[in-house]
């Protein structure tokens, strides 16, 4: 390993140790330590929530719910995975739980309402092509969008995404295929878009 590689490994290890210390303090009840964890992770959590919900206010609610749930569950966190991975899972559950709650409240109209939420989110910046892609993702139907975000953007396997979303693996694959086709159309990519 070259010097640069060693340096970055060292930096990663130091950050992991720092984070573990923060997690331990938060487990013991330190809200200051938990706030530091919040500052480190809020961008990733909010990014995930925003892309999954395509709605800024809903994403803020989900982000807050995720951190509150993380605080409650922290005593049982065993450091078997990275804190960020654990938190990511909690955030996905927060998004899905909020979706279920809305469907219960609104009944069948919820899906219509969800489609109406397909709005671009201006938080992602103003960089031409990137903004187009964010907009296109935001305008996908909820099911296709969530699979695309989890598998295509955050690197989960179909099995993981299917388990998180509570759908069959086959459904997950077909939703991803649908999302890709729709994105290709909206981004005017050539057929097959290689």
């Amino acid at each position: 390993m070259n010097e640069h590689g060693t340096q970055s490994e060292f930096e990663r290890a130091r950050r992991a140790a720092d984070e573990r210390a923060l997690v331990d303090s938060a487990k013991r009840g330190s809200t200051a330590a938990f706030e530091a964890l919040y500052r480190d992770h809020v961008g990733k959590v909010y990014g995930l929530c925003l892309r999954m919900t395509a709605n800024r206010a809903t994403a803020e609610d989900c982000t807050q719910e995720a951190f509150i749930q993380a605080w409650r569950s922290l005593p049982s966190f065993q450091n078997r995975s990275a804190f960020g991975t654990w938190l990511h899972r909690i955030a996905v559950n927060a998004v899905l739980a909020l979706g279920r709650k809305r469907r219960e409240l609104l009944g069948a109209d919820a899906s219509v309402d969800e489609d109406a939420e397909r709005l671009p989110h201006p938080d992602s910046g103003d960089d031409g092509g990137v903004l187009d892609l964010e907009q296109a993702i935001g305008m996908l139907p909820a099911g296709a969008r969530q699979v695309l975000v989890l598998v295509g953007l955050y690197g989960h396997t179909h099995e993981e995404a299917a388990e998180m979303l509570g759908v069959a693996v086959g459904t997950c694959k077909s939703q991803l295929h649908r999302a890709r086709q729709m994105l290709a159309e909206r981004l005017a990519l050539p057929e097959g878009f290689p």
């Binding site: 500052r39 809020v42 961008g43 605080w71 991803l176």
Partner: protein, 204 residues
């Protein structure tokens, strides 16, 4: 998702990989989160509970199980022998001295959220007094075992009361004491019911 038909990463995947994973929210969400964080119980306080308190709690479980078993066996025994044994046979007392109920509850120092108030303690004392008067009517082997078990329970409650004097309002100690009193009352009630059932029978 990863590759196009040619086996190379496709343009969509490339575009997705360029998206930043994190997006900062438009406003600070921490205040809303902080307002909803419940304080954790202080682990140092839990650690401060003496080890014997856990031992006492474990002993209580054993004692209650033993007492309930004794009561069940006695119930079966009296059901089969009641026609042949006179009800008022004097039995020499060999049971260990039972710590008086009043003494074991007199020193409790409960916190504001306690469940063991003066009315609870008064009822417990009445039940215990009634039982002590009637305990002598049990067969000697059952009486000895019950007296021993009740004495164990009261010793445990006296120890926890002593600890509560040092740590008044400690929720864990209060919980332990409440559980011991509940267990004691359960044993007393079962024995009381057993004796009551026995005295309704008419000896030959």
């Amino acid at each position: 998702m990863n590759q196009g038909p040619s086996g190379r990463p496709d343009r969509l995947e490339e575009a997705l990989s360029q998206l930043p994973r994190g997006i900062e929210p438009g406003r600070d969400l921490w205040a809303g989160i902080a307002a909803r964080l419940e304080p954790r119980s202080d682990p140092a306080r839990v650690r401060a509970v003496p080890r014997w308190a856990w031992a006492a709690a474990a002993a209580v479980v054993l004692v209650v199980a033993s007492s309930l078993m004794t009561a069940t066996l006695l119930r079966r025994g009296t059901a089969t022998t009641v026609q042949t044994v006179p009800a008022q046979v004097a039995v020499p007392s060999t049971a260990p001295a039972v710590v008086p109920a009043a003494a074991s509850a007199a020193t409790a120092a409960f916190g504001p959220g306690h469940r063991v108030g003066p009315a609870y303690l008064a009822n417990r004392r009445v039940l215990a007094r009634e039982l002590e008067g009637r305990l002598a009517r049990l067969p000697p082997e059952g009486r000895e075992q019950l007296a021993k078990n009740i004495a164990e329970l009261r010793r445990a409650s006296a120890e926890i009361n002593a600890a509560l004097e040092l740590h008044p309002g400690d929720p864990l100690l209060e919980e332990l004491l409440f559980n011991i009193y509940q267990d004691e009352i359960l044993v007393l009630t079962n024995v009381d019911r057993l004796i009551a059932a026995d005295t309704t029978r008419i000896p030959l």
